[in-house]
């Protein structure tokens, strides 16, 4: 019997549905301590004083850590690509979002740890905060990030660009230009398992890190960088996660636990409360997308101008990557020969946003697909036929210049139309993904095809 294509039961399904799968919080080791964190109560402030002395002396407290305890406190996921680090593990000088961790305590119980957190003496000087990305470059906008209010490291540019074809000509040639604004919201990844880690300091000097990460090697790299240790000092144990949806690509709890385990020489466990999961863990990013499409009366999309603002929250994390993915896919499942895209990662004083299912593309799919229906409405055309006409075909080039080998815009659209009994004219029903010819290869797409020739 072939396994591929078979409806085999889930490999670990019985364990999941009988409660026998071991998640991080199910792991029991002797004598572990519990962690709680001091988090910023302000959206934007300077820390003017920080004293953990009293907290350290409290009963049941074994270790307190601040930025002073972190070998490399400021880290960035894109350092390997030459982008400087921007996010401290524990806040140092400034706090840039409500909920940002400043210090952490390991104690005999969660209650003792919380009491010690409350005994940490800290003073803030509040600063004006920025929340609306559309005002990030206003002259009087609060300056909230070391780089200014937008990410400046797309090569020499402070924005991700796409320039393809002759956009001005497309807009001159258009019969109609349809413009619209789309604002997909932030949502929670909402995993059943909140952020959690257990770190055990072994007799060998290694740390065993029980982790809910979606990416063990990636997170091991993050911990190794903060601790400045080689990978043989760390062992990540994980691989089974109680829901991630992107939020557990962030290494949220492992590093702080590792520091506390090293300092206390005891196993430490940190399990975020549901409230922390909602308020202090990352969300999907809110986006602001402005589209202008140059179209002909009979429904050809000649060109698209796009402005995208991506609300990164207080730090960059994966946002520059998410925006690049957004840029690469902003023409959707369609072939648009002339494109001008400018996208900005803008900082605000909200919890840093991060990966979530569909990262970068969920937002632009909403914008593009709603916009296409508006175009159909403005032109008085059938939205199915508008899409089929402009659909990606074999040999077309994508917005970022990739020749498409096996596009399925046409088959999935026709299958959906068929399933709900939508009537299409015969020429549309007969469409395939095969390369364009005849009426489906108008002059503005001939140029597109010759571009394929040059690249092939």
């Amino acid at each position: 019997m072939k396994a591929v294509g078979a409806r085999l039961p889930r490999y670990d399904g019985v364990g999941h549905v009988t409660g026998r799968t071991q998640y991080v919080d199910d792991v029991r080791v002797g004598r572990n301590l519990w962690v709680k964190a001091l988090r910023s109560p302000h959206h934007h402030a300077s820390i003017t004083s920080l004293d953990t002395g009293k907290a350290e002396q409290m009963k049941g407290v074994h270790a307190v850590v601040t930025h002073l305890d972190v070998p490399k406190n400021v880290y960035g996921h894109l350092e390997g690509l030459g982008v400087p680090a921007d996010e401290p593990l524990l806040a140092e000088g400034d706090v840039r979002y409500k909920g940002q961790p400043i210090a952490a305590v390991a104690a005999e119980s969660e209650a003792a740890a919380m009491a010690a957190v409350e005994a940490i003496e800290i003073r803030y000087e509040e600063r004006p905060a920025l929340f609306d990305i559309r005002q990030a470059l206003d002259p009087d906008a609060p300056q909230i990030h070391q780089w200014g209010n937008v990410y400046p490291h797309y090569g020499p540019y402070n924005h991700r660009r796409v320039r393809k074809g002759d956009i001005d000509r497309a807009f001159d040639d258009a019969d109609v230009i349809v413009e619209g604004v789309y604002r997909p919201q932030a949502i929670e990844q909402m995993p059943m398992e909140t952020q959690v880690a257990l770190v055990v300091p072994e007799a060998s000097g290694r740390l065993t890190i029980y982790s809910c990460t979606q990416a063990m090697y990636f997170s091991m790299g993050v911990v190794a960088a903060h601790l400045q240790v080689p990978l043989n000092k760390l062992k990540f144990v994980g691989g089974t996660v109680g829901g991630g949806f992107g939020g557990k690509v962030d290494t949220a709890s492992e590093t702080i636990c590792a520091l506390l385990a090293l300092k206390s020489r005891r196993p430490v466990k940190w399990r975020w409360t549901r409230e922390e999961e909602f308020l202090a863990s990352s969300t999907r990013a809110p986006w602001h997308i402005e589209l202008a499409d140059a179209v002909t009366k009979d429904g050809w999309i000649l060109g698209r101008r796009t402005l995208t603002l991506h609300d990164s929250g207080a730090y960059a994390r994966f946002s520059p990557y998410g925006l690049t993915k957004h840029a690469f896919h902003h023409s959707g499942a369609y072939t648009i020969p002339n494109l001008r895209f400018d996208g900005f990662v803008a900082f605000t004083n909200r919890v840093p946003t991060t990966a979530m299912r569909g990262f970068g593309v969920t937002s632009v799919s909403f914008a593009v697909e709603t916009h296409l229906n508006r175009i159909a409405e403005v032109l008085g055309l059938d939205p199915w036929e508008l899409r089929l006409k402009n659909a990606n075909r074999i040999g077309d080039t994508s917005g970022n210049g990739v020749v498409l080998k096996d596009p399925s815009t046409v088959p999935v659209t026709l299958a959906a139309a068929d399933r709900v009994g939508t009537e299409l004219s015969a020429s549309f029903r007969a469409m395939t993904p095969e390369p364009r010819t005849g009426d489906l290869l108008p002059a503005h797409l001939v140029a597109q095809q010759s571009l394929n020739g040059e690249r092939a």
């Binding site: 604002r183 919201q185 409230e275 402005e290």
Partner: protein, 366 residues
């Protein structure tokens, strides 16, 4: 008051494994002396079923029964690098890592079997755990016996490892163009949503969704359907219910518990009709592309378009909560026309909201 029905749809595409590449997954496989298979992979299973899918891929790439294969993805000491479970890369890139490792193990099995059978390895095949001779089906040796011979007669551990890696795709920052594709494949999907909108309460109910997905090859159709249906509910939450910042861009009034944050629940579940199309990819394991992330991308625009079909208003600030629907119905905003321009949503634009009329964002080439 009246309830209005509407239908909308959307067609989308999504990149498999777009990290601009340069993000490997590695795997290694060894045989026990009875031919049973131990796979070590770093791919984290976040519930999507990668352990199952990878086990199926290994079973067929080797030609052994599925239940011979044990999957260990539990720790970084025994597993090699997997960059991570994100970017919809698990089935394609992680799957290719275990497939390529299995192909190397298969070669070692055939080499040992060749010695045992005294037949050239190119004439051998493996099926259902037995090495068979092409054209001479009576001549065969069980993989268990091959592994035993390797261990006890030849002093060899049958094993194999591999890395699935595409080179990093550089982007021209001036134009956004790439020289090599930054993804491993592209998956496509279409979604039709049928809704009922109450013009008195503003409530939108999704009654039915028809969803078509090209996943290249469904390694496990049940798991693909699980992604389609789970994704449908997440997409429905995006379209109608969920919002971390209910008064965005304000940060006030965040929900901090399940009871204070409106996610989709079973009461919201519409009738779902799932269609899987298999337009095989060139390079994926057994032709697979991906399904994971794209599964919540098509519903929000399909539902927004259905709302327009039902009551004639565009909801372009997500989600389409009852208050937003009622406000849109009351305002009935029309686009402004300026020559050949038809301008929707001007009140939301940076041109309206920023201090400089949007020049800082819009005038980057000025």
């Amino acid at each position: 008051m009246a309830k209005h029905r509407g239908r909308g749809f959307a067609t989308i595409e999504y990149p498999t494994g777009m990290n601009q590449n340069g993000d490997p997954s590695q795997a290694w496989i060894k045989l026990k002396p009875d031919g049973r298979v131990d796979v070590f992979s770093g791919t984290v299973d976040i519930g999507q079923g990668s352990k199952t899918v990878h086990t199926q891929i290994v079973a067929d790439a080797l030609g052994v029964p599925y239940d011979w294969v044990t999957m260990d993805n539990t720790n970084t000491d025994s597993s090699a690098v997997c960059t991570g479970t994100f970017a919809s890369r698990g089935t394609f890139i992680g799957g290719n890592a275990v497939r390529l490792a299995a192909e190397r193990v298969r070669e070692r099995i055939l080499d040992i079997a060749s010695k045992e059978l005294e037949i050239d390895p190119s004439d051998l095949d493996i099926a259902d755990g037995e090495v068979i001779v092409r054209g001479a089906p009576q001549k065969r040796i069980n993989v268990a016996d091959v592994a035993g011979a390797a261990t006890y007669n030849y002093g060899e551990l049958i094993s194999g490892s591999s890395t699935a890696l595409k080179p990093f795709a550089e982007v021209d920052d001036a134009t956004g163009q790439v020289e090599i594709e930054p993804h491993s494949a592209i998956s496509y999907a279409a979604c039709v949503a049928e809704v009922e909108v109450d013009d008195e309460t503003g409530e939108v109910v999704v009654e039915r969704m028809v969803q078509v997905y090209d996943v290249g090859r469904a390694i496990n159709p049940t798991l693909v359907e699980g992604q389609i249906e789970g994704g449908a509910m997440m997409g429905l939450g995006l379209a109608l219910l969920e919002n971390s910042y209910p008064y965005y861009p304000s940060v006030e009034h965040r929900g901090a518990q399940f009871g204070a944050y409106l996610g989709p629940a079973l009461r919201d579940l519409p009738e779902l009709d799932n269609v899987i199309i298999e337009n095989a990819s060139e390079d994926g394991p057994f032709g697979a592309k991906a399904i994971g992330e794209m599964a919540n991308n098509a519903q929000p625009p399909a539902i927004a378009n259905a709302i327009y079909d039902a009551v004639g208003v565009w909801i372009t600030e997500m989600p389409a909560t009852p208050d937003r629907v009622l406000i849109a119905l009351a305002e009935k905003r029309e686009p402004r026309r300026d020559g050949k321009r038809v301008i929707f949503d001007e009140h939301l634009s940076v041109r309206t909201i920023s201090a400089d009329g949007g020049a800082s964002f819009l005038g980057v080439d000025a």
